[in-house]
Symmetry: C2
Subunit: 414 residues, 2 copies
């Protein structure tokens, strides 16, 4: 058991008792014997972040091919380098990605990439949570490829995860790279196993136009008619939905993973966040891969989600700080079926401690606003996941080795 003594929670000093992996008790004073006590003077407790869209192992591509046209960027800079990836390199890249997540207060992520076993191993060792999805992609002209993906996905789903911190899921890349058969089959398989289905949806106007040309309808409507939209589907980007598609997504309960930095950087457009919120859509937040961000910081993502949300709505009252913070925390955890993202009794002990003497968190008039707009990683001193300490006083155990291995692996890939 762990007792957080005199920690600020919603502006008042409290004691917080952690029993096993749960927040057991919150009150003005908790008395308990035989517990480890952490003196939290001048610290506040907050839920950790849930990054709902990333390709964690793309860390090696940070800063590669800046300011290029999309086609040049993918063809000349990104794809040739990704071809060099191996199981071993993805393991080290994933560990480094998770290190960056922990340093920025994230304890859960939804990942869509290759070499899933390597990423699963990295999650196991680092102590975070993740939904790791098997990714089906580029099968669109190749029925044999589709069948191969289905076999692989079946094998992937038959694995048993050794911890509740890990869950499996299935991903398809997008309607313009993936066949109808694969998308429908993956969703059916995901439904049968009650796991998440993840897909990029309407990231660019070109995707919408091409889809209308090919299928005679927009991607969101297509997915709905294919039976893909429900509460266990996570739609990454969803920048360009028309009113009909917004209604379909809303009725289905499907989750939107909003990636404002990536959308701005790649000139995909600005998702109409406030409009979606007004229509009752479930919105979560993700960083996308670092190649279009260029970090995995949900702090940066929150600030830019708020700013982009106001700009897109032409309304300085849009994209309010509490809404943005919930998108980055409890909304993501809920979408993953994890009872975390709030500091309340009975919730899982995924939390961070922040230093109220840090410049960015002063004058501490509105801590949530400070986290959304002002904070950076220097504010976060401690990170816990599932009741276990992953970062203490800014230090993650073994971080030097993780960085050194990352540097070594990148030399071969770049």
């Amino acid at each position: 058991m762990l007792l957080l003594k005199n920690v600020y929670l919603n502006g008042a000093q409290k004691d917080v008792l952690i029993k096993e992996n749960l927040i057991d008790k919150i009150s003005d004073e908790v008395k308990a014997d035989g517990v480890e006590i952490i003196d939290c003077k001048n610290k506040a407790i907050l839920p950790t972040f849930c990054n709902m869209h990333t390709h964690a192992s793309m860390m090696f591509l940070r800063g590669v091919g800046e300011d290029l046209e999309l086609f040049d960027w993918l063809n000349k800079e990104i794809w040739p380098r990704e071809e060099k990836l191996t199981e071993e390199s993805v393991y080290h890249l994933s560990k480094f990605a998770i290190l960056e997540m922990i340093k920025t207060g994230t304890t859960a992520f939804l990942d869509m990439y290759f070499y899933t076993n390597a990423t699963i191993q990295a999650v196991l060792e680092t102590g975070v949570r993740a939904a790791i999805t098997y990714l089906g992609i580029m099968d669109i002209f190749d029925d044999h490829e589709t069948s191969k993906h289905i076999d692989n996905a079946q094998k992937f789903l038959s694995l048993r995860m050794p911890t509740t911190r890990l869950q499996q899921g299935l991903s398809c890349h997008a309607v313009y790279t993936t066949s109808e058969r694969l998308i429908k089959t993956f969703k059916q398989m995901a439904k049968k196993e009650d796991v998440l289905f993840n897909i990029h949806l309407s990231e660019t106007q070109k995707e919408v136009n091409d889809c209308v040309e090919k299928y005679g309808k927009r991607p969101g409507r297509l997915l709905d008619e294919w039976g893909v939209l429900d509460k266990k589907s996570v739609l990454a980007h969803a920048v360009h939905l028309d009113d009909d598609e917004i209604a379909r997504v809303g009725q289905s309960g499907a989750v939107v993973a909003h990636n404002p930095v990536s959308n701005l950087k790649l000139n995909s457009g600005q998702m109409p966040l406030q409009k979606y919120l007004n229509k009752g859509l479930k919105i979560t937040l993700g960083t996308d891969g670092v190649s279009s961000n260029n970090n995995l910081s949900m702090l940066d993502e929150m600030k830019i989600a708020a700013l982009s949300g106001k700009n897109q709505a032409c309304d300085c009252c849009a994209a309010k700080v509490n809404t943005i913070f919930e998108m980055a925390t409890v909304n993501g955890f809920e979408a993953l079926g994890i009872k975390a993202g709030r500091i309340e009794e009975g919730y899982l002990a995924d939390f961070m401690l922040v230093d109220l003497n840090n410049v960015f968190l002063n004058p501490s008039y509105n801590l949530i606003s400070d986290m959304v707009y002002a904070a950076d990683s220097s504010c976060i001193t401690d990170v816990f996941c599932d009741g276990k300490c992953l970062m203490k006083n800014g230090y993650v155990k073994g971080e030097e080795e993780i960085v050194a291995n990352f540097k070594r692996v990148c030399k071969d890939l770049l």
Copy 2:
């Protein structure tokens, strides 16, 4: 003398010799006797930032009145609290603002606020550079008020600054709050003393519309016809300039201080950065006050300048990383007439050291891109201004006291 040993500069290891306040020598190996040596293994040297638009003492308003309409925000939240300011509180607020700047790698700023003597004292004690301007505001229906401002400005300009780190200037708030007589007189006085003149220009479409209604022309054209535009004029915001005004600003050599975060947060609009760059305008970067940001980090400002620049131009090749970095560094220093912002022999020794083992600066493929998009304050280990160390290993001398005084002052103001 100070010798930076084995420091990364443009991707190669160098020795950098600092003599007095100058970068004296850069080469593969510098041999010098009787110098203090700093081992810079795994560190890179970069120029520090110049924040070209701020109201430093607004630090106490961080997080106050989030997500409100502009009018409610100013009338109910901001202005009543600003009325409580005193010389003493502004001194402590300024010191805290400068602490935040140093922590985020900024060593120079252009300030527009009240109680200039208090801010000057804070600059003197903390060791940074600043252009402190006397601010004329709200005289528009009051000729007596205009005369009072002119007297005060004359007295302010007659002060002699005790260090080259400080320079004086004059500010007018904007054409909608300030009379023609005050703007013209302040510019003439600034010209006579060869100091900067600073004004908010065309921050909102409403400002433009109101100006057209009142004066029959747009604010940028008005200022040009009033003789206000030249190389020593800094135009904050400049979000809404038409082609005629862009040409006038360009021909005059006036400097634009771009504030993308503030413009997005207050829903002022997005400045057409790439268009201005294409037209040859001199663009610098500023944070504005924290009340509309909510920090003084030029790192955040660069990221959002790049993202907003691409989005506004509908072009992922716009707002390139090197351009953004120069806006935040050398362009600002040049506008202040300070030979800093580059790590080259003969430049002033304003520089930072960054930790190449920090997660955000890996794989170190493109350090400038890493600084613009990925870095946060945790990357910056040391900050020097005018040859003197202001931050060592992340610590600024006396920072605890600065924070404590800030907390105390804020209690009275909030």
